[in-house]
């Protein structure tokens, strides 16, 4: 991390933590996570043996719904606000590279995104304590699950960042990123409907829900890792192109 990136990142995280939206999100996330988790436990109590608590937790509707809604709200203000208030001019007339500015925003929001998942870890910890089972929450599936949460988050956040650089209107930015993320997420389901095996394989490649299912079962696959990382880089580069283009236009 370069010096400029570190200074920008600190300010970015500070900016997020000083906004009321951050604390509202954290509260709502904890509430929904808690609710979702207790439902998972209630489901297991019926004598279900074929899934672990983690598999259910990361597969459940709440989790994904939350992720798709959460990211646009987190990212909508990142650039839009700077363009709207004009602080982007102040930022870009300091001796910093465009890339550092983009990366600091991305890493800043990624940091907060990861913070938001801490309450869910607490849920698992409580489950562990209360059930007194030897290894109800295994480390490897746990690690893989959160790796997947991070990877998916990185791609979605970079999409959100890209949407935010397109407009100075936060609501528009949120709507654009929501649309892109939802399209990406739900197109995975088409693999159930498509008959052509080539297409089916291609759609499976971006089928986040299935990938999560195998990761939370402790099965690692390198293909999704490549997909999410390259997707993230792609959208970060796209963000940079738009930023340069906006200045050309004035």
């Amino acid at each position: 991390m370069t010096r400029a990136l570190w200074i920008l990142w600190k300010r970015e995280v500070g900016g997020i933590l000083h906004s009321p939206i951050a604390w509202v999100l954290l509260t709502c996330m904890s509430l929904i996570n808690g609710f979702s988790f207790s439902q998972c436990v209630a489901y297991l109590e019926q004598g279900v043996k074929e899934f672990t608590v983690m598999q259910i937790y990361f597969y459940i509707f709440h989790f994904w719904f939350l992720l798709i809604i959460l990211v646009p709200i987190l990212t909508m203000r990142l650039f839009s606000e700077e363009y709207k208030t004009g602080t982007i001019e102040m930022l870009l007339t300091a001796p910093v590279k465009d890339g550092d500015v983009i990366l600091s925003k991305f890493l800043g929001v990624l940091f907060f995104y990861l913070l938001l998942w801490i309450p869910s870890l607490l849920g698992l910890a409580i489950f562990q304590t209360v059930t007194h089972q030897a290894v109800p929450v295994a480390w490897i599936p746990l690690g893989f699950s959160y790796l997947m949460v991070t990877l998916v988050g990185m791609l979605y956040l970079s999409i959100g960042l890209f949407a935010s650089v397109l407009t100075r209107n936060q609501a528009v930015a949120a709507m654009i990123s929501f649309t892109l993320i939802a399209l990406l997420f739900f197109s995975g389901f088409l693999s159930y409907l498509v008959r052509d095996p080539g297409w089916r394989e291609a759609l499976n490649y971006i089928f986040t829900l299935e990938q999560m299912r195998s990761f939370s079962a402790g099965l690692f696959d390198s293909r999704p890792v490549v997909f999410y990382l390259s997707g993230t880089v792609f959208f970060l580069i796209l963000t940079r192109q738009v930023m340069v283009g906006r200045r050309l236009k004035g």
Binding site: G86, I88, E89, M90, L92, T93, V96, R247
Partner: protein
């Protein structure tokens, strides 16, 4: 400090800046003057590396744009129009952030921030949240931001816009003070500001430079002021004799009070007719009770140069 040649900025909608050339020497305080929408901000944004020019060469603080953009940005202090700031930050915290971003070292930062706070009269509000400050203070924070890394060149875009008369006055004093050991380019559409702070003015209109000169020379370019005299003399004779002075372009009778008649005597552009008029009055032995020169004001220059 600033060398601009043939600078052009074209947008999809048209040309904001049309091939302008000018330079600012080290130690000068130069006013960048023009009506709203003349291209002042666009030019300044190009000088600070924020906007890439469509065409032309820019050299600022010994580095070329856009190649050495980072170097230029490190060497100048820029205060954008409307002073955008992060409202949730505290004054001191903001200046520390900006100073660090502009490569002030960790060891020097508190000294530099303290100095900028002092210079801009912000010491009392250093712990306050920027969003809660008045416009005047926010403007000062913007200036402190431009100063915090101790740049030799300041580029200020309408630094006094939106301030009340008291604030404007103290702001000008501050700029004057800063101009003693720095080069300053400041834009404004308030003329008295230029008259008070700047040694030279560049007048820009519709993306083109109309004039670039010292204030004294600029004033000479339009009617170099008119003389108002009030004498006791025969109106027709006096008018004729005054008109005969070679450098007088116009004599207007203003009014009469008993035997006293007052005239406005206008000189040809750039000429000083005080000596000749005085000589005439003495030769004719006209009793005189008023002899006053209306100084040409920058406002006249401005209006003449920027009207359609």
């Amino acid at each position: 400090m600033i060398q601009v040649e043939n600078l052009t900025k074209r947008y999809a909608g048209g040309e904001a800046v049309r091939g302008i050339s000018f330079s600012v020497e080290k130690g000068e305080v130069v006013g960048f003057l023009g009506p709203n929408g003349a291209g002042k901000s666009t030019t300044m944004r190009m000088l600070t590396g924020y906007l890439p020019p469509t065409d032309g060469q820019i050299e600022v603080a010994g580095a070329k744009l856009p190649q050495d953009s980072l170097l230029v940005r490190q060497r100048i202090g820029y205060m954008p129009e409307n002073v955008p700031l992060y409202p949730e930050m505290r004054v001191e915290e903001f200046l520390e952030y900006r100073g660090r971003l502009k490569r002030v070292t960790r060891g020097e930062i508190s000294h530099r921030v303290g100095l900028a706070l002092d210079q801009c009269g912000l010491s009392d509000v250093r712990k306050k949240i920027i969003g809660s400050l008045s416009k005047g203070y926010r403007q000062r924070v913007g200036l402190a931001d431009a100063l915090v890394h101790n740049p030799r060149l300041l580029i200020l875009d309408e630094p006094t816009a939106g301030l009340d008369p008291h604030q404007i006055r103290s702001f000008r004093e501050l700029i004057k003070e800063l101009g003693k050991d720095r080069t300053i380019l400041l834009s404004t559409h308030i003329l008295s500001e230029v008259e008070m702070v700047c040694g030279r003015a560049i007048i820009i209109n519709k993306g083109k430079i109309e004039a670039s000169d010292t204030l004294a020379n600029l004033e000479k370019r339009v009617q170099a002021g008119a003389l108002q005299i009030e004498v006791k003399a025969d109106p027709a004779v006096a008018k004729e004799k005054l008109s005969k002075i070679s450098e007088v372009s116009l004599v207007t009778e203003l009014n009469r009070a008993g035997e006293w008649i007052s005239f406005e005597v206008t000189a040809a552009p750039g000429k000083d007719i005080r000596g000749e008029v005085d000589g005439l009055i003495k030769r004719e032995q006209w009793p005189l009770r008023e002899f006053r020169r209306e100084k040409a004001r920058l406002e006249d220059v401005f209006v003449e140069l920027t009207q359609d």
